[in-house]
Symmetry: D2
């Protein structure tokens, strides 16, 4: 961390600052110049409050050089984290396809889709029971009943289930759920993150619509600070000025997160563009960029899906995507884990 | 709502569509052209699911012409909503200053600031007890104890209190709180909004960092759909590419929301820029643009504030802002309600 | 400037770096820590190339602490620059209203509007002759003929003229023009900026749609490096994710630029929102935030304007805006310069 | 195009509107509803001015359904355009690697790099002679002398050259240049686009930092309206709120542009992230997403490059990228054109 002092800061103020820093186990190196004095902080600054220092009267500005996250930081944990979901691994060279409908709509629907996507190579089943919808008048999901149908699909197919949790009070309802999904709108629902940190189930943490990569890692840090390190990060598109697509898939997030953290990173190409025709090319791009998995919306009857129909693939189209993705991961050196299980 | 059909849509498909629309009490007017066929929908389309229609195989695109919100829509409720907070009115020409520290830190702190800002003209006291912080290592607020101190400040000064709620399970803890504040990060925490819709207390709803005005109004609609119409909207800056300020205050949101909705709109200039020196000019700009109130962070010792020190004003600087704001609202025809109480 | 070195940088590499810096008259202060070594640079770093240093193999990252602009920097030129346009001053407490049509359309149109806006208090006449239009099929302005009509309006009313230049090869055509306007799309047309730096006429430099304040000041620096310091900066809205308005007026840019630079700053509320109804409130907000002037589109027949009709005011509405703006600048301590001339 | 009329528009006004539209060869289909009247426009609306219509007093809003570009529109030109650069084809299944330094720095440098990248599979040589730099104090390119060195490299290696043009007055200097590159900052330099439309050389048109895909196509339309259809579009990253990378590569632009236009689309992964380590994964992602080519910065001594060192690859790293890209395009069904030449 670098502190730039205001011109004319006196020696006594500076001394008070360096002593306070020392009390926090931080060494301060002072460089005095004509226009400004710079103080370089050496030590573990991850728990220092930038705002607090910025508020000091002598301070012109504060620049953080090292990352404010520790548990999620690759610098301190160079090896890839591998998240194991009932035997299916993700991260550390293991790749997974996660597929299923936006919303669970009926027993027939979820089981039929589950069987189809499994045949094409997806090992994990996704499906929304609790749905965050912009409008109070839109379908809000089947809720408890949806969870029940997911359990039945799991029994029928053996596929672990991934489904979204919207409120900490629902945790116990998610008993048989294998992966808690935290949606983009809840990426900074800190009360929820704290509670999930106390569980020991894998968390699929989606990046918020306008959150930085550092904020995503800080949200992972919230969960890890509670003791749960089974986190899968998910890039699902960010909000920009471009009106031709629902969101802008930030593909660079994949290799950049790989550098910054040891946690696995997957991509959701369905929500990113919100256009079914874009899912195939974006899935290949995600695999080529080094993603550890891809999560795709598949519906047996996209025209009549109760939500997000325009972005869902039919099982046939999903099968074509899966085949091409397999070829790409061959090039990037990953393997579809569990295929041989 | 306008539906553009794909070239070559046959008469039978079109007929199925118009019949289905009729079953939803929507009249369809069809205009056939060389390159495309356009279907104009006449009727209450606010509950139609755009995604569902977009998913139909014959549909090229869907454009919503009328707003998807009804209760919050000025078209259907031309008169300004006036929210009454223990006798202090906001909206309909009534202006309020809301002030106080970012976080409640101690009994002395909150009472001393409350007395100061009251003297300068603020009728409502703000102060955070539950604090949403990006880092799990930052001060998270005094929580229940903070609420207790706010109650004491209220008793001491008679000022109604505004404080942030982060989780639906906390509602009962907020017993004596006068206004529930929903923070930017929770603007689309729909489970929380639904629960707040069942209460009858005023809600101060902050716009999310990257949410559109329509999404803000849809979140208000969530609360109103539950039966609670006492909503105060708050513009607090949006996220853009500009690094010189924490957020970009969207000042146009004030007059534009005034056109779209009958709900009162206030501005939070402290969080918008995140720079104390900007609070004075931005407060005047907000008042000049027609805001119904301004919410400002004030701290008796900003250098040692436990959070957001850099953006807090001292009571002296707040007093200067308040004096200038009074002059501006004289020009825009608003009155500081409750001054004469 | 702060250079953070990669872990494990050896003493010899560090020595080469500090010697090279010394050859550039920069003193390097080195602070070695456990995880990283920090080098603080003291001296005039405005001409150092950040990219060059970032490219060195030993460097982890480079952070600029001081601004890369010198001529435009308030730190080195604390007094406000006052730009004098044929006797009408802008900056240093002097405020100006600039008004006129988006495009010059006919002799009658431009003279009639000029007379109207002058009566309401505008001292400077704006009007486009060369028009940058997104579509090649849209009206491109009357070009040379438009300049001729502006000259006639100037002769008739005595108002200095402000009009946009789109290409360096046109400079000589702008003979009688009083202020060269550089449009948002040309803010980084560096060949044009260099040529304008060689003239001695005032330049009204608009901020680009997605340019930072620092980039705006660097573009001003291009002009100043050529010897011309008569620059008026103009905030005209930036591009964000919000679809309800054409651009988002960045009102904070006004007080923030005031801190960073000594150059005068005006606001263009017409282009900012692109909605006529927003011009009145945004003009008041701009004046309240401390702008040195406002530039407004006025048309005697907005419905039939050849471009940007939706954002133009009628002369009557402009008159109402001007009256309220006068009241606001009374509060901020500015005066409408030239009124008494 | 859809026009929504204000509530209460009388029959006479509506009649005037429909008659005027008919005079523009546009048929108007009127649908009257309770809250609004919708007018559907059938015919070639690409030359209608949306702003003009929006300005009419009876109009509430105007929505364009069909695209405002015609020449660039795939609807009217379903077959892929193939641009031929001295025998090297791009588009229509033909893929090209374009490589070279950010700036031409010396004879040795450009020839050495040219030979290296040619060996790895690049058929076209890039290199900047005229450099748009944010700072007037940064290296501005070798200008005419740089063009001369590019000509020598072309003579030596037979590689056609791609280099940036910044001003229409320079066109004649670019005599032996094979492809005019229009940089992001000049994408809407309409005077330059008009002049380039009169030439018959291929144009590599980069998307602006904050321009929509439609605006990019409108800029292509400017060139095409002048008679030149040899246009290669280039996605090079857009500006977002994310500070961890210089720009955000909009990978979805590739498949989306493929749908909207018949023009070839390439990607510039070097400028997109501004980080050398990201070039390899982003290149693979671009190829996987269906790009017709990739343009990469390569420098034999990146640490000492005069500009943009941090994003340049060494020839060795470029070779590794080229090998992997070849594998990917095998999957997407494209071929590296000219390899067998």
């Amino acid at each position: 961390m670098i502190i730039t002092l205001k011109k004319g800061t006196d020696a006594k103020s500076l001394d008070t600052l360096t002593q306070w820093l020392r009390s926090q186990s931080i060494e301060a190196h002072v460089s005095e110049g004509e226009y400004s004095t710079i103080v370089g902080l050496i030590g573990d600054t991850s728990k220092l409050d930038t705002d607090l220092i910025q508020g000091l009267p002598m301070v012109e500005n504060v620049t953080r050089i090292s990352e404010p996250y520790k548990n999620a930081n690759r610098k301190f944990h160079p090896d890839d984290t591998v998240v194991d979901i009932s035997g299916y691994k993700i991260g550390g060279g293991n790749f997974q396809l996660i597929a299923g409908p936006c919303s669970v709509e009926s027993r027939e629907q979820i089981i039929s889709i589950a069987k189809d996507v499994k045949k094409s190579g997806a090992n994990l089943l996704r499906g929304g029971a609790f749905k965050p919808r912009t409008s109070p008048y839109a379908f809000q999901g089947m809720r408890e009943q949806g969870l029940e149908l997911l359990r039945e699909a799991k029994k029928e197919t053996g596929m672990p289930i991934v489904t979204e949790i919207m409120d900490a009070s629902h945790i116990e309802l998610f008993d048989d759920v294998d992966v808690f999904q935290v949606g983009a709108r809840n990426m900074q629902n800190f009360e929820l993150l704290k509670e999930l940190g106390k569980t020991d189930k894998p968390i699929l943490l989606k990046r918020g619509l306008a959150n930085t990569l550092q904020e995503l890692l800080m949200s992972a840090e919230y969960i890890m600070a509670g003791g749960n390190s089974k986190i899968i990060l998910c890039e699902r598109g960010i909000r920009t000025f471009e009106p031709a697509m629902r969101n802008t898939l930030d593909i660079t997030a994949v290799p950049l997160l790989k550098k910054l953290t040891h946690l696995p990173i997957i991509v959701d190409p369905s929500h990113a563009a919100g256009i079914a025709d874009m899912v195939h090319p974006l899935s290949l791009a995600a695999a080529a960029a080094g993603a550890d998995g891809i999560m795709i919306e598949v519906h047996n009857d996209p025209q009549h899906a109760l939500c997000d129909g325009p972005q869902a693939l039919t099982p046939e189209r999903f099968d074509a995507v899966a085949k091409d993705v397999m070829k790409i991961i061959g090039i990037t050196g990953k393997t579809m884990n569990g295929a041989e299980k």
